[in-house]
Symmetry: C2
Subunit: 408 residues, 2 copies
């Protein structure tokens, strides 16, 4: 964890223990910083698992194996290595992951494909098998820890521990969702990696859990961006232990499925926002709200074009209501847009409507809005009912300093 | 023009007069800086014209009209306004362009569609008709100027005048191509606009000139990027006066067509590189050379993903041979790539081959290469014969300062 905490940081929530989930951390020594860097989560028998993974084709063995093994639907353990992403390490990287899976499976007496492994940190250096083996061995026998300690242990250059909590009533039983995530802090030569984990005691069938997680992902993790660079290791896994005792959710017809879906979406949104709040050099949290697009998908593409535009992000950093740059970004998105129907606003006040600057535009409330930590950009395309919100942070000298000023 | 010249600047070439082309500059007063800001180029009767334009759907009236009027193939004049892009200004912006075209057409006794207008600068403010009218009137009667003065006059936040020269033997006659361009300097609230103009005395049929310009554009202007933000005004026009007296080039069967095509490609490449060399905050000129892709188009997409990656660009700024970030950028491009066949190098020395870091990797020559002003990144995908080179600059504190630190 970094010393300088993001000005957008939020306190870690009071996540209670979740039945069927036991957290432990240990020190494998991937880095020389003296802190714990291996997280081991033991899951009750019968825990359902679902996952979404990076689309980066140069992904790590962890991602390849996770994607393959999530298909069988059950998980007994999760191991997260921090300090080494094990990406682009060929067969030696693969061997290290296989060894961890075998070691944990032997301990638990489960199938190896029920052991999930994630790694985050430097790329191109095979995960050292001996350190991993010793780290796992230590983790298996240490005392359980709390959520915040686990959140700190999966972090690399994150500036604060990130967690989320939600509850829902399912089948007359209260179910709890606890979640942790790391990501968006990067220092050379590390890469951005976002690793997120959602744990719940709710009983959910794996196929339905996957359906819900994929849907939540589309509206949350897939709608954030810090710098448009897609990690080779991004992973979000959801684990449902079933210990709440509700009748297993198998589809939206199951009692309480809507409530659980809403709670799952809620924790995913919290996690996604926390990653943006720890974006490198971030000084402002930006919501780009797109309406009037021909479809929701089109709205999201336009929103990402605005959120990824260096010129828009630097304008917000400079507290400059430069709506011309927003127009430019909308226009380059490649989606249907009509210059003469386009409206742009900040914090709810329009600067341009229907393709023309507002004649009576009052910059004072907009200027005041841009001075805050939370900035909203409104884009109305005037074409249809499609809408999406995308979240990002501003682009500041801090980003350059973190990524250019320090040598590997 | 800015005071601080880019460290990557190049001297303006000695472009001779080109028969059929007369350059004049005047002061319209779009900005209060006291320098000339209107360029007027008169072209001989029968001059062929071709053009390529921004794909930004929020483009200016100048771009819309230019795209429409280039179809009739002939040009008598070009007017370039610097200091106001006239983009996102609705019918009032359109009226200003119509007025300029009518004024010049009346003076020359030509059709209005043979008058081409470009504007660059602040967005959202209609081009003032009265200033434009007075500026054009002054330009029509002033003494002709040289290429460098014209190049300076079309510039806005450019830090140096940019021109290119090439010659070719066509049909036993020497033909000359002279070209100027502006772009990639931006200060809030201005937008990046790239305006480029190629003039030649070669006789070329408009349809063939368009074919050649479009082909050159694909390999030159479409292969550069400073910050991935596509302007609403980008325009490149080619004018061929025919005064060299060669038999008109109508296709690749015409004698000398290949030589002319090569010369046209040459000046377009020179111009494109000059824009990158004046990229905001640029300290290094970067060539991303992609080979082994499934197609040339795929190679270009991969190259642009690398060249637009903030993490790659900041690594180069920090003189850090961070090939992991290049792997990440290749992987996110969405093009066919196989992690285990991928090779990454800098300045001709491989850092990783076939998906593995080089065991005997010697960082010393790579580190020396990265300390220079010109940096090469090699990406071999190991899949096919597709290749492309993309050019960009590094991402530095200078970029943030230019775009965030100053208010509009």
């Amino acid at each position: 964890m970094s010393d300088a905490v993001s000005p957008l940081a939020q306190p870690f929530p009071a996540i209670p223990p979740i039945a069927g989930v036991t957290l432990r951390v240990a020190r494998a020594g991937y880095k020389d910083c003296g802190r714990c860097d291996l997280t081991y989560v033991e899951l009750a028998e019968g825990t359902a698992v679902a996952g979404v993974f990076t689309r980066n084709v140069c992904c790590s063995s962890e991602v390849e194996l996770g994607r393959a093994n999530v298909a069988q639907g059950r998980a007994r353990a999760l191991v997260v290595n921090a300090g080494n992403s094990n990406a682009f390490t060929g067969y030696r990287g693969r061997e290290a992951v296989d060894a961890i899976m075998a070691q944990v499976a032997a301990h638990l007496g489960c199938a190896t494909e029920q052991v999930f492994v994630s790694s985050t940190g430097v790329i191109g250096v095979p995960l050292p098998k001996d350190k991993a083996e010793a780290g796992v061995r230590a983790a298996l026998v240490t005392e359980p820890c709390d959520w915040e300690e686990a959140a700190n242990t999966i972090g690399t250059t994150d500036t604060f521990a990130k967690g989320a909590l939600a509850t829902a009533i399912v089948d007359s039983r209260k179910v709890t969702l606890g979640a942790i995530i790391k990501g968006s802090g990067m220092i050379a030569p590390d890469m951005a990696t976002m690793l997120g984990y959602v744990f719940t005691d709710c009983a959910v069938a794996p196929v339905f859990l996957q359906e819900l997680l994929s849907a939540a992902n589309t509206r949350t993790f897939s709608c954030i961006t810090v710098d448009s660079d897609t990690s080779t290791s991004d992973t979000v896994l959801a684990f449902a232990t079933g210990k709440a005792g509700n009748a297993v959710l198998t589809g939206f017809d199951s009692p309480g499925a809507d409530a659980f879906a809403a709670a799952l979406n809620d924790v995913c949104m919290q996690l996604a926002h926390l990653v943006v709040r720890d974006g490198e050099g971030a000084q402002k949290f930006i919501a780009v709200q797109v309406t009037g697009a021909v479809s929701d998908k089109s709205a999201r593409t336009v929103g990402l074009a605005v959120a990824n535009s260096p010129l828009v992000k630097t304008a917000i950093a400079g507290e400059d209501a430069n709506w011309g740059r927003v127009v430019m970004a909308v226009g380059k998105a490649g989606e249907p847009a009509d210059r003469d129907k386009l409206s742009i606003g900040f914090g709810g006040a329009w600067a341009a409507r229907d393709g023309l600057p507002l004649a009576d535009y009052d910059e004072a409330p907009v200027a005041a809005h841009l001075k805050g930590r939370e900035v909203e950009i409104q884009v109305d395309l005037g074409l249809g009912e499609g809408r999406a919100t995308v979240w990002t942070c501003d682009l500041t000298h801090g980003y350059i300093s973190i990524n250019a000023d320090y040598r590997s």
